[in-house]
């Protein structure tokens, strides 16, 4: 258990755009240990979305090393990546990304369907995950019958149900009003306290400041990596000077 959960080394991701090579990630290296709560911050275009896609095993790097929970991710085939996402990663998206025709419970069950968990066990585990985010009484509601905050909680329950090693949240408060966003951030704090490893991708320094650690990206490189408050302040100062 001394291995870091995430090891990223000289990670590059280049795109060909109209004959020009765009270096979305240009040599990124860091490690994240189990149980950390880390914010990844940066302006739009800094490469944080690309980094999130790579860390989420939705995409593969052009070059470099990405080791997640002991598995080398670069060079894995499509099926292996899908299985890895299913086992190791819980996604929380800005736009919730719940299936509109499915109930909260069915939405939460979904990762377990792709893992081959029996129907009865799926039900039990999904109900337990909904309870953990305080939505036990909304299990049979469809997304359009839930408030934004409740939807995001369902999404968090879905991310947790498979007991992944990493919770990957992409601007989870971006579509919520500040009070509801605050609720979700508090929920992440609780989950962190319970031992979950959380990566929070955000452009808001205010959120990053509340994380124990933050990594700042700019132009595809890591420009700062330290306690959340310091990194956030650095960004704020820069923004002021610019």
């Amino acid at each position: 258990m001394t291995d870091p959960l995430i090891l990223v080394s000289s990670l590059h991701r280049h795109y060909q755009l109209g004959g020009e090579t765009v270096r979305a990630l240009d040599g990124v290296s860091f490690t994240i240990s189990r149980g950390e709560f880390v914010a990844i911050v940066g302006q739009s275009g800094s490469g944080k979305s690309t980094l999130m896609n790579l860390l989420g095993c939705l995409d593969t790097p052009t070059s470099g090393v990405y080791r997640l929970n002991g598995s080398d991710v670069e060079g894995l085939g499509d099926d292996a990546l899908a299985d890895l996402r299913n086992r190791e990663i819980g996604f929380v998206f800005q736009t919730f990304q719940l299936l509109p025709r499915a109930t909260a419970l069915q939405n939460v069950e979904l990762p377990l369907v792709y893992r081959g968990v029996s129907r009865r066990e799926r039900r039990v585990r999904a109900a337990r995950a909904l309870e953990a985010v305080g939505l036990a009484n909304r299990a049979h509601h469809r997304p359009n019958e839930l408030s934004g905050g409740q939807r995001q909680r369902v999404a968090v329950a879905r991310a947790l149900v498979g007991e992944p090693s990493l919770l990957l949240a992409d601007e989870p408060t971006g579509n919520l009003d500040s009070a509801t966003g605050e609720e979700i951030i508090r929920l992440f704090g609780e989950l962190h306290a319970r031992g979950h490893t959380i990566l929070l991708v955000t452009h808001e320094p205010r959120l990053a400041a509340r994380c124990p650690r933050a990594i700042r990206l700019s132009d595809g490189r890591v420009v700062a990596d330290g306690p959340g408050a310091e990194v956030a302040a650095l960004g704020a100062a820069r923004a002021v000077h610019a």
């Binding site: 896609n53 989420g56 939705l58 995409d59 598995s71 060079g75 894995l76 085939g77 499509d78 099926d79 292996a80 899908a82 299985d83 890895l84 996402r85 299913n86 086992r87 996604f91 998206f93 990304q97 719940l98 299936l99 025709r101 979904l110 990762p111 377990l112 369907v113 792709y114 893992r115 081959g116 968990v117 029996s118 129907r119 799926r122 879905r158 498979g162």
Partner: protein, 427 residues
């Protein structure tokens, strides 16, 4: 590049996963069908019409076949009809050639009766049309058939009352006659088959005594089998002239049919003195030839029906493909979410294939039901019969599901090939 160990899932885990994905796929498919009922209905309409057409046409053709085969069976499946005319000719030249052949007559009959060891029954048949009268009742255009006591064995039919012609009737050229059902009914008001035995009728002016009456037989290829009288062929020759060509109906057992034909050919060539280098100057006709011709005709009909059906199904399939492409586009984000949560490409592919074949199979089921209904309606309102075989139904259903699979595969493939990152970002 070794895959992680856990990827090599155990069989039961894989099975549970497959079941889970299968029921999930079914749930999604049903959900999207019910979610857009009008669209699903319109999508399947092409398939419905295609399958309906094929099923209805096939049912009607099969009904016709059955009716035809029943009729043809009247000719006797294992009977060879020896005649100077072939039943099927290729042109007028051939007809003239046959017309100029020697008649088939008493000599051929005797030779075949004597030498055709494979035959179980031989009956000569000489036909004419004439008028039959009783008292002041007259019936014109009756088929007059001169034959012998073996007629029932070679050519079918049953006696309703009295007896059939006997060998004594034939040997002594008696004026005995057996009346067909229609003749009895028309000549004897208040017809009772038993009551007219022994009565006198006149055939072309010659007096005959009724020894028997035939049970009703119906029609064969449009020919009325009940407007007939049967006389001894010897009496026929005396009363109506002996210079007519006759047909020999020769029956055998199913396994000897081919051999019998060879035997008959040998006997006839010898009796008719056909030189070895010349073709036969007679024809051996079999009911099978009717069936062959008929099969050719209905085969063409079948081909047309199937062609129309296939075209309609293809059009229906294109409709399904179109809707599935729309569906894939509409659900791009959903696909992205599923992929992010661990669905493999194959899973997405199967999900969409499931949906398209379900739509098509549903259309096929509705089309089959409608097709059967149409066939029954046609059978009810017209003289056409309709017969539905389970094979036709199975064919309709499996064909439409196959169309769903075939035309759903491209949209499904597109769905499976979507890049999860792009799909999640899709607005």
């Amino acid at each position: 590049m070794s895959r992680p160990r856990a990827v090599a899932t155990r069989l039961d885990l894989g099975l549970t996963r497959l079941l889970g994905e299968g029921s999930e796929g079914l749930r999604i498919a049903l959900g999207s069908l019910l979610g857009a009922r009008l669209r699903s209905f319109l999508t399947t309409l092409g398939i419905v019409i295609g399958v309906m057409t094929v099923i209805a046409i096939v049912a009607i053709i099969q009904g016709l076949n059955l009716a035809f085969e029943e009729q043809i069976a009247n000719l006797g499946a294992h009977t060879v009809y020896v005649s100077k005319y072939a039943w099927f000719i290729k042109g007028q030249g051939e007809w003239w050639e046959m017309r100029n052949r020697k008649d088939v007559g008493r000599r051929e009959l005797e030779a075949v009766e004597r030498e055709a060891t494979l035959a179980t029954a031989v009956s000569p048949q000489v036909n004419w049309r004439g008028t039959v009268t009783h008292a002041d009742h007259e019936l014109q255009g009756v088929r007059l058939t001169g034959t012998n006591q073996r007629y029932l064995e070679t050519s079918g039919g049953t006696v309703a009352a009295g007896r059939f012609l006997s060998d004594t009737d034939v040997d002594l050229s008696r004026a005995s006659i057996v009346l067909g059902f229609e003749v009895g009914q028309r000549l004897f008001p208040g017809y009772q088959p038993e009551a007219i035995l022994g009565r006198k009728v006149r055939v072309e002016g010659h007096a005959f005594r009724v020894v028997g009456t035939m049970a009703r037989r119906g029609k064969l290829l449009g020919m009325d089998l009940d407007t007939i009288v049967l006389l001894p062929h010897t009496t026929f020759a005396q009363a109506l002239g002996g210079k007519r060509t006759i047909t020999l109906a020769v029956s055998t057992t199913p396994e000897h049919l081919e051999e019998l034909q060879d035997q008959l050919t040998g006997i006839l060539r010898r009796v008719r003195r056909v030189p070895p280098d010349r073709k036969d100057d007679f024809a051996l006709n079999r009911q099978e030839q009717f069936l062959k011709l008929y099969d050719q005709l209905t085969g063409a009909l079948y081909a047309v029906a199937v062609g129309v059906g296939v075209i309609t199904l293809v059009v229906g399939g294109i409709g399904i493909m179109n809707i599935m492409l729309v569906s894939v586009t509409e659900r791009t984000r959903e696909i992205g979410v599923r992929r992010a949560l661990g669905a493999r490409r194959r899973t997405i592919l199967l999900q969409f294939l499931f949906e398209s074949s379900l739509v098509a199979a549903l259309g096929g089921a509705v089309g089959t039901a409608l097709g059967l209904g149409v066939a029954q309606l046609v059978a009810l309102l017209s003289p056409l019969a309709a017969a539905v075989t389970p094979q036709a139904v199975a064919l309709g259903l499996s064909f439409s599901a196959a169309v769903g699979l075939a035309f759903g595969s491209w949209p499904a493939w597109r769905a499976a090939r979507l890049d999860p990152v792009e799909a999640l970002r899709y607005e």
